[in-house]
């Protein structure tokens, strides 16, 4: 069996990581000298090229959860993990077709700029900032807790220290280097992650004579599931559940504030669309690599070892690297995973800071009047505040099951942010009240339904009850099993009809009498069994049930946000907003007047 050093302090990993930190802090120092105005701080002076932004978008989006999590899911669940990976890509074409160019042409720094373009600034900015901040905070908690757990596994650092290091670096990048430093951290991370994953895949395929057919044959042979490992299994049981999650993933991507914000870093709409094409290509390529890594790990590392280190399979990729490239490759990949986390949390922090300063402080509190210096200062204070918040929340949620937060993030982004953004771009009759009610409806419905869903209501809120009932049922089952065994034992003691036929008359009577006695015991035992079955049913009735049946609320919360937005807009038309739509349209399609 494979001996791993995962879980112990790993000097090679720490060395690679220190190199990454030194380089990125150097870039931050360089970027700090170029970060003066709001345009520099939020949008890197709009100096990033389409290709660079494509890489940065990929670096912003590909989280450690998708790198380690999807490889792990594939290595333990096979084809079902592959299904999951597809969902993470399909939002990108939607971003390109519906969002990227209008967003770039109409806005300045945040997506609230676009929604507020022809509507009343203050209520829209307050609502959009709320939507952004909830998305940023839920995603940050998920990332921070994941970071602490993963870094503890890969570097042997204590959980709290890992979170403080992550938080401190993230604050440094954003605080001093703003969007310029964040962009380059994301670009370097994307190159390292894509390069590392490519190398790992090449080394994996070399073990199979560069034949995918061979890899899959071995994968089916190496796992207990066998051929079923390569077939869709239990992940999608209810179609509506699958559609709901699919909708949230697809349209949530188009509503993530840290992704949307990146489109303001390029000079024009043409570069914005190019960056989506580049990002989609790299992200798609990355998921295909990740899936290969998962299948490779199932064969070359083995499910037993993978799940022995981490039940969720998160260490499948690093373990594979260790098997194929030894301690050095493991150290490199661990450092890349750390860099991956840093790039994502930096993007999130910057998006949160811009919602706080650009939308809430300047847009709402100062009613749009604030000078550059003041706005940058507030953004920097917001960065530190958010960073400290993220560190504290990460430590507070230690050991909690935070997987649901990722689903929640996408559901809120798809329900609170995306509908308002799309309708403000496309629909002339959209009004301020329509937008505000749509955002708050999407936000509330997504959060409330998720709390009532099996994901939270059963797996978290009533976890203890579920465990209690499950234990009770198990106990009853064991009892029923032993009654069954007793019945079987008794039946064995019975004299068979054939044997009776061969017996002499007086022996026959005795045997029949014995059988009758045993039969009575069996009947008594059967009654005992019935009683147990009734007890099991009773215990089962106490099992907590989710109030809302779906695991992800996306389908309902998105529909509610669109419906409310449309109804409220139609009920009370806003003349001024309709008049301004003409100017919006020219700027949206032609780019005249774009920042």
């Amino acid at each position: 069996m494979h001996q791993t050093i995962i879980g112990q302090s790993n000097p090679i990993a720490i060395m690679f990581f220190v190199v990454f930190v030194v380089i990125t802090l150097g870039i931050t120092w360089w970027a700090a000298k170029r970060t003066r105005t709001t345009k520099d701080f939020y949008a890197a002076g709009r100096s990033i090229t389409g290709f660079q932004n494509g890489l940065a978008l990929a670096g912003d989006y590909m989280s450690a959860a998708s790198f380690l999590g999807i490889a792990g899911l594939v290595s333990t669940k096979g084809y079902d993990g592959l299904i999951y990976s597809v969902g993470w890509l399909v939002g990108w074409p939607i971003v390109m077709f519906l969002i990227s160019e209008p967003l770039r042409n109409l806005g300045k720094y945040t997506f609230a700029d676009v929604v507020a373009f022809r509507l009343q600034q203050r209520p829209i900015r307050a609502a959009a900032a709320a939507g952004s901040l909830v998305v940023v905070l839920t995603y940050l908690i998920a990332q921070m807790v994941g970071a602490g757990t993963l870094i503890k596994l890969m570097f042997g650092l204590p959980f709290e220290l890992a979170i403080v290091v992550t938080g401190a670096l993230m604050i440094s990048y954003v605080l001093f280097g703003g969007m310029i430093a964040t962009t380059w951290v994301q670009i370097i991370k994307a190159v390292l992650l894509l390069g590392g994953a490519t190398l790992l895949v090449i080394m994996t395929l070399a073990q199979f004579g560069f034949s995918y057919a061979e890899l899959f044959n071995k994968a089916a042979a190496a796992t207990p599931l066998g051929q079923k490992f390569l077939e869709p299994g239990g992940l999608v049981t209810s179609p509506i559940d699958a559609f709901s999650l699919g909708l949230a993933l697809m349209f949530g991507t188009a509503g993530l504030p840290h992704i949307l914000m990146r489109f303001y870093t390029v000079p024009d709409a043409k570069a914005a669309r190019k960056s989506v094409f580049v990002a989609t290509g790299f992200i798609g390529y990355f998921y295909i690599l990740t899936v290969t890594i998962g299948f490779g790990a199932a064969v070359l590392v083995g499910q037993k070892v993978i799940m022995g280190i981490d039940k969720g399979g998160n260490m499948a990729g690093p373990l594979l690297a260790e098997v194929l490239g030894g301690n050095i490759f493991l150290g490199f990949l661990s450092a890349v995973a750390f860099a991956t986390i840093l790039a994502v949390v930096s993007g999130l922090t910057l998006a949160g800071a811009s919602a706080l300063s650009h939308d809430l402080y300047v847009g709402v509190i100062r009613r749009g009047v604030a000078n550059e210096k003041e706005e940058v200062k507030v953004a920097k204070i917001a960065t530190v505040g958010l960073g400290i918040c993220a560190i504290l929340l990460g430590i507070l949620f230690k050991g909690q099951n935070v997987a649901f937060l990722v689903g929640l993030t996408f559901a809120i982004a798809a329900s609170a942010n995306f509908p308002a953004l799309l309708m403000s771009i496309m629909w002339k009759k959209f009004t301020t009240y329509g937008a505000v009610t749509s955002i708050y409806t999407g936000l509330t419905v997504a959060v409330v339904l998720l709390i009532l869903s099996p994901t939270v209501w059963i797996d978290i809120v009533h976890k203890d009850d579920v465990a209690k009932v499950t234990a009770q049922i198990k106990e009853i089952d064991t009892a029923a099993g032993s009654v069954d065994a007793q019945i079987a034992d008794l039946q064995k003691q019975m004299v068979s009809d054939d044997a009776i036929a061969k017996l002499k008359k007086n022996e026959k009577v005795a045997a029949e009498k014995k059988n009758a006695g045993i039969q009575a015991s069996v009947t008594a035992k059967a009654a005992e069994k019935d009683a147990l079955a009734a007890k099991k049913k009773e215990a089962g009735a106490a099992m907590p049930k989710a109030i809302f049946p779906l695991k992800n609320p996306g389908i309902y919360s998105m529909a509610a946000a669109f419906l409310i937005g449309i109804l409220v807009s139609l009920m009370k038309p806003e003349k001024e907003a309709q008049e301004k739509f003409d100017a919006e349209k020219v700027r949206e399609y032609v780019g005249i007047g774009a920042e």
Partner: protein, 104 residues
């Protein structure tokens, strides 16, 4: 603000009407194609698992479901490529013509 004054003219300009309606059509068609692609894949998983579980060739373990899943990823990217191709060859020219008309 001189450009905004001319916005009335741009909006009724036949070139602009053509541009905006073509762009809307392309965006909506491609969005629908992407929805059909992804939710078609999800529907196969939900309603026809045996189809995806078919083996690609006799003697090999790989199932049809694997290239279909990877194909969904690749085709999504191809759709963004189609949009880029259209925008770079047609859309940008139309935009330039209108910008020239307005005088920058």
């Amino acid at each position: 603000m001189s450009k905004l004054i001319k916005k009335e003219d741009i909006l009724s300009d036949p070139d602009f009407i053509k541009l905006s309606s073509q762009k809307d059509t392309i965006s909506i068609i491609l969005t629908i194609l992407e929805l059909v692609l992804y939710f078609g894949f999800i529907s196969l998983i939900a309603y026809n698992k045996p189809f995806l579980a078919q083996k690609m060739s006799e003697g090999d373990a790989a199932t049809i479901g694997i290239p279909i899943a990877v194909g969904t990823i690749v085709l999504s990217w191809v759709l963004t490529g189609i949009y880029i191709w259209w925008a770079n060859t047609k859309y940008d020219d139309m935009v330039k013509r209108i910008v020239d008309k307005v005088g920058g």
